[in-house]
Each structure stands twice: as C-alpha cells, then as structure tokens.
C-alpha cells in the first residue's frame, strides 16, 4: 500500500494527509461518529488567553453551496485547554494541533508559551485570519505584522508552528513568504472569505455581525488557486483548506501542491467524509501507481521546492 504519511516539519509527522480544520471539530470530543483512524491530525477550535463568550446570535447562515459563520472565537481559554483537554489528547494516538488566536502579539505569545511543552499538544496553528472578531484579521493582511507575530511566537515555543493564512488580501503569496521567513514550519491556506447574506423578508443581515466567513464548496476554486500560488512560492509544506467535500476535492488540493488537507464544513454534514476521502486518495495512488502523497503534485520539484 502507498505511503500516506505527511511530514509537516519540526517532527510533526501525520499518518494521513487528512486533518480537520479549526473551528469545525471543537477540541476533538464532540463528534464520536468520526473515525479518528482516518485522520492525520485534529486542529482545535481557536484558543485565546482568556475564555471568550463569542458573538451574539445569529452566528451562521447557509448560502448557495456554502455557509457563513461569525462565531467570534467562543472558547474556554488556554488554561482550561491545558488542564481539561490536553491530558486526554496525550492518551490518543492522533496529534492535536491547537489553533492559537489573540488580539495582540503579547496575547499570541502568552498562549503559545502556555502550550509549550504541554503533553498532548503536538503543534500550534497560528490564527492570523479570523474575520469574525475585532482584531482578527489585523495580523493576517499585512506581511510585516504577519511576520512579527510569527517571529514572536516562534521564539516562544519549540512546537511545530503552522500559520493559517487569510484569503482576504491582495497578495496571499507575500504573506506566505513573510511568515515562512519569520520561522513558520508550514502554512494552512486558507481561512474563510468575508461575505454576507441579507434576510430579504426581515430586511436585515442574516448574521447579527453583518458579515461572516464563507466556507464550503462555494469557495473551493478560490482556495485551490490560493494553494496553487502559495505552494510555488514557499519552501515549507502547504496545507490545503476550503470546501473539500469529496475525495476528488481533496485530490485537487494535493495535485495543486498541498502536502495535506483540512476538512471543515463537511464535518458538519458527513461524519464519514474523512474515511471516504482517505479511501479515495489511497485508491487513486494505487490506480496511478504512485508510491506516496508526495508524488501527487502535478508541477515539478523545481517549481514546488518543498516537495
């Protein structure tokens, strides 16, 4: 059988290229229907220094082939995560990566420090791309600030560090390069697109915060293009995220140059998706007589220098 393992750097090796995206899987305890055996890693809900209540309802709305969310980083705070969740993660044979969010460089650093060396925490994903809180996007849209927060967190932790990029920028490649230079081990591309929907009958935005982050198949071609661009621009692994529902969707991202993929919205709909997608990738590798997922990108190693 083909080799399905993925190396995200700094010792973070996954047994499968399928991860679950931050914010779509809680802290790994709420979806007993999902077969952990198919997953390479879980990425937790965005976690901040102190507990946050999140945004006032209404927080979600379905849109054509997608959904908007504006949850607002509701989470129990990093101390609770370290005390209540990490000890359980430590007993799993599945790495859990904590998505780290904050309002300031100091907050990101404080959360990263608190998680450093905690058993059960396999890595960090730096969330500089949340569109649903006051300062969520501030760091993700400016290469200088993105690099600054990445560098500061890099210095505060020995853990593998993934930076999750926002697509709500003019030039995602510039941000990707900046965080690579600042010490990121990998990047996730992408977080949600800012969008909105209006309730025509009630004459008001569907979501109480007016705008929200758009996810689902509606954004898949956009996400794929971002991954295609970023994969050719950086020397670190790119994790493809955005609207993946089927094995073919996941393969598109891997063919575009992603080292792994994250499933997001599909987790709300089809708990069996991870297993189906892994089976699809395995079958595809066999069909094309490919030895491993690293052989999937359709552009040569001279273009994709991290492969």
């Amino acid at each position: 059988m083909a080799d399905l393992t993925v190396d995200l750097g700094r010792g973070l090796r996954l047994r499968s290229p399928i991860m679950v995206a931050s914010g779509t899987f809680g802290y790994g305890f709420d979806a007993p229907q999902v077969d952990h055996g198919s997953l390479g890693a879980i990425v937790s809900k965005g976690t901040t220094l102190r507990a946050r209540e999140g945004n006032a309802p209404i927080r979600i709305a379905e849109t054509p082939s997608g959904m908007l969310n504006a949850i607002g980083l509701q989470n129990p705070g990093v101390d609770h995560v370290v005390r209540a969740y990490a000890p359980q993660w430590a007993t799993w044979d599945l790495p859990v990566i904590v998505n780290v969010a904050g309002d300031s460089v100091d907050e990101y650093v404080a959360v990263a420090r608190r998680l450093n060396g905690v058993e059960g925490v396999a890595g960090l994903e730096l969330n500089i791309s949340c569109p649903n809180v006051e300062s969520g996007l501030q760091f993700g849209v400016d290469p200088t600030l993105a690099a600054e927060v990445t560098r500061a967190v890099r210095a505060a932790t020995a853990l593998p560090l993934i930076v999750k990029l926002t697509p709500n920028v003019t030039d995602i490649v510039a941000i990707a390069r900046a965080v690579e230079d600042a010490g990121a081990d990998a990047v996730s591309a992408i977080n949600t697109y800012v969008g909105m929907a209006i309730d025509v009958r009630r004459r008001r935005p569907m979501i109480s915060r007016q705008s929200g982050g758009l996810s689902g198949p509606a954004i898949k071609p956009l996400a794929l293009h971002a991954v295609w661009q970023v994969a050719a621009a950086v020397h670190i692994p790119v994790i493809g995220v955005g609207g993946i529902m089927t094995p073919a969707d996941a393969l598109e991202f891997l063919l575009a140059g992603a080292a792994a993929v994250q499933l997001g919205t599909v987790n709300y709909v089809r708990p069996q998706a991870a297993a189906e997608i892994l089976e699809g990738i395995t079958g595809y590798l066999a069909l094309h007589d490919l030895p491993d997922v690293r052989a999937l990108p359709i552009r040569s190693a001279s273009v994709l220098t991290h492969v």
Binding site: A31, P57, M206
Partner: protein, 280 residues
Amino acid sequence: MTIALAPGKVVERSIPMAGAIELTVHHPPSARAGVPGQFFQLEVKAPQTILRRPYSAAWTDPATGRLGFIFNVVGAGSAWLSGLDEGDELELLGPLGNGFDLEGDRPAICVAGGLGIAVFPGVVQALIARGRTVVVLEGARTAAQLLPASRFPDADVRVATDDGSAGHRGSAVDLVSNLLHNRAQLPPPFTGEGQGGRIDILSCGPTPMLRALIAAARRHDIPLATIQVALETPMGCGIGTCLGCAAPRSGGGYVLTCQEGPCVRGDRIDWDQMTDAFHG
C-alpha cells in the same frame, strides 16, 4: 448517545394538516433511542444546500422501528424533504440534544404555536403514559392548519386560530393566559392543592410566541423554571462543534441549542436578547 448513520427508509408520506407534511421513517435505532423533544439532523440533497436540517421527532414507536417528522416547506431543504416519498432513503443523525423533562406527576399544559405542534404527539403520549393530566393548547393561522385533536388521545385539546375559524380567535398564548387567569376552566388536577396546585408548561413554537408565553407567565407569577421550551435557532452541525446555534443565556453567555437544548427551562434564556431567525 446513540448515533446511527445507516439511512432510514420513508414508509409513509401524509398531510397531517394543511400546509404540512408528515414523513414516517423506518429506522429502528432512531425509534428505539431518545426522549421526546430530542432532534435529528436530516441529510438533504437539494442542489446548493450544504447543512443538514434539524427536526424534532413528532413521535417514535420502538415496537415498529418507526418515527415521524412533521414540517412545512420554508426553504430549499424542507422543500427537498417534502418531495421524499414511500421507499426513499433518508439519512438521519441522532437523537441529539436534550428532550423535555417529563418526570414528575404535576399536570402539564402543552402550548404550541404553528408548526411547534410537530413535537407534541410524542411528548403528550409520554406524559399520559406517566399518568399525568395533559391539556394541549394549539394555535394556528386557520382551522385547516391545526393538527387534529385525534392525534392527542386522552389529552384535553383546546385550539385558537388567528382568523377565528376554530376555537378562540387569537393565539395559543391567549389560551394559556386565560387559563392561568381562571383556573376553574382547567381539569381538577390543575386546581387541586396537591403539588401546591402547580403545573408544568411545555412549549414549542416561533420565538416571538415563546417570548409572549414567558411574558404571560411573568404576569401570572408562574416561575419560569416550571416552563420548558423547545428552542429554535439556526443550526450548523447539531453536535456542538460549530458553535453556531447559540441562544442568549440568562445571566450572560450563550446556550448551545444543540447541546443544552433544544428543550431548556424558561429561566435559562435571556428572552430580551433572544432573536427570531430565518429557517430554510
């Protein structure tokens, strides 16, 4: 929590009242598990839709392995579900969340507005099975949109319609207010001194109706802790991962409808902050 992913099969499609559809689904694991008021996430395959649709079971029958869903068409998802017919498969995830607390021996008033009646056939049956006296107060726009009283054998069913075509002209909340104002209109257990003459109120309906019910309860000094409501909020996953179905918690923060609800005590919600929402 029993979670079943194998699809059920639609064994009957009927029209329980004007403007509504009732699907009877054969799915023994779902029919066996659960408490009235819990919900299922139904998979819909309508073009351009993504999310499952949450529906409380109208009733379950473990003996035959069947359960029923009563709903109306409000958007693409419910339209797709309404097109299912005998023999079609339906994938359902559940039962999820918390149902009504049916324990105790106090008499119960079930208050339903519009399609809120859809949860009560199973609830009323379970209350009656516990030996409790039950009054059902059902409100609809017009007589044809009332779920027939024959669906609530052994309960005292009273109706209200917006147009006065059946029963009281007005709402189900009017009926509650009238009864609370003049308890002599209620069957004996409601007026007796056993249990301090207290009653339980169970309600399901649009958010403005629930808010009106809470206001009526306050006017009549009914403790909100004796009222249970089935919340309706937009919902994503149904299992507590997306955090999308938040409802404002009394005292601050949020209740997740899918985990703490959908059935919650009336004193758990900050009704001033509770928003009514679009449902597709």
